[in-house]
């Protein structure tokens, strides 16, 4: 448990109302609610409507979830439907 007392800052980049993107939003919201109990800040960025927001974030594929905090930065690509993988990727498994 690395960031037990620090807040998770997550940023999910999506591509409008595409199936994977909407699925990704639903999945991450569910995962956060169940595992972080409100101790998080999730920002969903629709690159379809605001592509300039991808600038400097090295986004290649969408959806991409980035864990801004706690460091180090972590990226997870895809619709986040594999909860296990997401929890490992974000290193929040031990929070449950």
């Amino acid at each position: 448990m690395k960031a037990n007392d620090s807040q998770y800052i997550l940023r999910l980049y999506v591509a409008g109302q595409t199936p994977k993107s909407t699925l990704a939003i639903a999945n991450i919201k569910k995962i956060c609610e169940e595992n972080l109990h409100g101790d998080y800040d999730l920002e969903v960025i629709d690159l379809y409507q605001q592509p300039q927001l991808a600038q400097g974030e090295q986004i290649i594929a969408v959806p991409t979830l980035i864990r801004e905090l706690p460091l180090p930065l972590r990226r997870i690509i895809g619709d986040l439907s594999n909860t296990e993988r997401v929890l490992i990727g974000l290193d929040i498994r031990s929070k449950t």
Partner: protein, 697 residues
């Protein structure tokens, strides 16, 4: 070095993961950093058109999870909330609604209801402002996302504002309508017409301001057209396009939304289409004023209407006719009201014209508006001879004209009908006719106080009255002569006797001494004085000039008995007087005397007719608080029952001989009209009683 290695390893892991995700179809877009900045390439292209539609639509579009998490929101929705999109996505939809609306939304988002649900709610934007919205909810079937909710949100702010404007305008129009209805029908029509004119002027003004606020002006304009029944039309000279407002179409009997409203079908509704068309041509070609009234037969088969139409030409900068702007107004109601007014007026004029009594309508300007047939026939004057009050009064009243004219001038102040009494009028042939006038105010006609005066020709009636009076006077004279004869008999007998004595003395050659002659002369003188007194008494009674004087009933009765007493005495009729009144009062003594004379004369006649043995007349004078009551009773057996009601009518008599039927009629008239009292009769004990009641005042 080991850090760098770690970073590189991480990057490699990410790259592999990205690649893996792309390969396994876990991503649906790729970002490429090109010369135009970041660009997105979506991997599934077929649905792009739909996506653009959703992204760009003017309604807010969202997809939600069953719990309300916003999976997707378009830009319009974030604009409604005044919050950047990234602050909207993934939030819970319920947080954007007030507490009371959250429960409604919860119900709305429940599945297993109708396929689509709608509701009007209010969003709370990030700046806490309230935005009225219309929510449409559906549950589309999306692969792998079975519980997705689709939400379309329409911003109602503008619509609500429009509704408020419409509601306030509607309220204003309702108020206008309500106030109109409270007025009388005719006033209502005139008022509507006036409003229509005002609204027409407003409409014209609004037209020029059209560019500034087209929508609002249009609304007001339409309201004005509807109220004033005014429609407008436009004819484009170059394109020959014809346009008509909703009210114009309605007037011509077409639905307001009808697109088929052309010059041809409009002209088909006009029976006088040639004249109307010519007027339009004249306007365009010669600039002749276009102002017409014509009949139309509406296309929907409703009854014909009368419309008033005006139009003017608009010219371009080269002074070439560009278009014709016209207004039409449905004036059917006004025309009908005018016709009905005209008919009513004509009817009234006919009634006046054909009335059996003379009628004159005149106003405060001294103008005689109408004199009817009878008036002209009876006076013999033509209308042109008496068309002013001045002319009429000069002709009819001669010297009395200034007084009468002054009196007529006061009539215009009248508030109700008045009887004006009798006036002698000089007709055109110089004869005098007597009219009894009455007048009544007719109110304001053409801005002038107007009065109707009607008359009743009582010339014949007056002649008849005069005749009756004459007859009764002649009858009275006959009675008088009989009474004078009675009065004179005694003194004449005395004088005759004295003369005979002198003659006897001369025949017997007896000497007549101076003393004896003086005594004889005194007797003759005394008797002639009595004769003279009798004449004075009768002359007083016949005095033409009758004045009011203070007297008592007793005094008048004494005077009466001086005239008739001897006649009663000679006929053995006893007079019994019981006087309980000494009050002096103001009256016409001679007229009262005439009444008493008539009543005593009647009593005498009946007593003589019936040959009553102990004939007597009882006269009793009593007083009440306000009046003096004289009761004259005889013992002649009373008035027959069938005659008691008719007694007092002119020419009705119960006397067997020498009855004219005028004496009692005259007595009743005198007591009632001149002495302000009453004369009644009844049967009592042995005969009839006549009761004269006079006021002490």
């Amino acid at each position: 070095m080991s850090n760098e290695l770690e970073s590189l390893r991480e990057q490699l892991r990410e790259a592999q993961e990205t690649l893996q995700a792309i390969r396994s179809g876990d991503v649906d877009a790729l970002m490429v950093d090109g010369i135009h900045g970041e660009r997105m390439f979506t991997l599934s292209g077929a649905d792009e058109a739909y996506r653009v539609l959703v992204e760009e639509m003017s309604e807010g579009a969202l997809t939600l999870t069953a719990e309300g998490t916003i999976l997707y929101a378009n830009r319009r929705f974030s604009q409604m909330l005044k919050s950047p999109l990234e602050k909207v996505l993934s939030t819970n939809i319920y947080t954007w609604f007030s507490k009371e609306h959250q429960s409604i939304l919860l119900e709305l988002l429940q599945k297993n209801k109708e396929a689509r649900r709608h509701k009007e709610l209010a969003l709370i934007a990030s700046d806490r402002s309230v935005i009225p919205v219309y929510l449409s909810v559906s549950n589309p079937h999306i692969n792998k996302m079975p519980d997705t909710i689709c939400l379309v949100i329409t911003d109602l702010t503008e619509q609500k504002q429009n509704e408020e404007i419409i509601a306030s305008e509607k309220m204003a129009s309702e108020l206008l309508k309500a106030s109109n209805e409270s007025k009388k029908e005719l006033l209502g029509i005139l008022e509507e017409e006036r409003k229509a004119k005002v609204d027409l002027a407003h409409a014209n003004r609004d037209l020029s301001a059209l560019s500034e606020d087209l929508v609002e002006t249009q609304k007001r304009y339409e309201t004005a057209e509807k109220i004033g029944k005014v429609g407008s039309w436009e004819y484009d000279v170059s394109t020959q396009d014809f346009w008509g407002s909703a009210e114009a179409k309605r007037i011509y009997g077409f639905p307001a939304e009808s697109a088929n409203f052309t010059t041809e079908i409009v002209e088909d509704c006009i029976p006088e289409k040639k004249r109307v068309h010519q007027a339009l041509e004249d306007l365009l070609e010669k600039g002749t004023e276009y102002k017409l009234e014509f009949e139309i037969h509406p296309a929907d088969g409703t009854p014909p209407k009368i419309i008033s139409s005006i139009a003017e030409t608009k010219y371009d900068e080269n002074n070439k006719p560009m278009k014709v702007l016209g207004f039409i107004q449905d004036i059917t109601q006004r025309k009908q009201a005018e016709k009905s007014l005209k008919d009513k007026k004509k009817e009234l004029e006919t009634i006046i014209e054909e009335a059996p009594n003379p009628i004159m309508v005149h106003n405060e300007d001294g103008k005689v508006i109408q004199v009817n047939k009878v008036w002209k026939e009876l006076t013999g004057y033509r209308y042109s001879e008496i068309n002013t009050i001045e002319k009429w009064t000069t002709k009819a009243y001669g010297e009395e004209m200034p007084t009468i004219k002054k009196y007529i001038d006061n009539l215009y102040e009248l508030k109700h009908a008045v009887n004006e009494g009798e006036y002698p009028i000089t007709a055109s042939n110089g004869e005098t006719i007597i009219w009894q006038f009455s007048s009544a105010p007719l109110g304001i006609i053409n801005g002038k106080r107007t009065v109707v005066s009607s008359a009743m020709d009582i010339t014949e009636l007056k002649k008849k009255d005069e005749m009756i009076i004459n007859q009764s006077r002649q009858a009275a004279m006959g009675d008088m002569i009989a009474m004078i004869a009675h009065q004179w008999r005694q003194p004449l007998t005395v004088i005759g006797m004295v003369a005979n004595n002198i003659k006897l003395d001369i025949a017997l050659e007896e000497e007549i001494t101076t003393q004896e002659l003086e005594k004889i002369a005194d007797t003759i003188s005394e008797q002639t004085q009595q004769l003279s007194q009798t004449i004075d008494d009768f002359r007083n009674f016949f005095k033409p000039k009758q004045e009011k004087a203070k007297t008592t009933v007793g005094n008048v009765l004494e005077g009466t008995l001086k005239i008739i007493g001897k006649s009663l005495e000679n006929n053995n009729i006893a007079i019994m007087i019981e006087n309980h009144s000494e009050t002096e009062f103001l009256t016409y003594p001679n007229q009262l005397l005439q009444v008493f004379l008539n009543l005593l004369g009647n009593a005498k006649d009946i007593l003589l007719d019936k040959v009553v043995a102990d004939a007597k007349i009882t006269i009793k004078i009593d007083e009440t608080q306000d009046s003096i009551v004289t009761t004259i009773c005889d013992n002649g057996g009373g008035i027959p029952e069938d005659a008691i009601k008719r007694l007092g009518e002119p020419y009705f008599t119960t006397k067997e001989k020498n009855g004219t039927g005028l004496g009692l009629y005259m007595s009743v008239t005198i007591v009632k009209k001149h002495l302000n009292g009453s004369l009644t009769w009844e049967n009592k004990d042995e005969g009839a009683c006549f009761i004269v009641t006079l006021s002490k005042e």
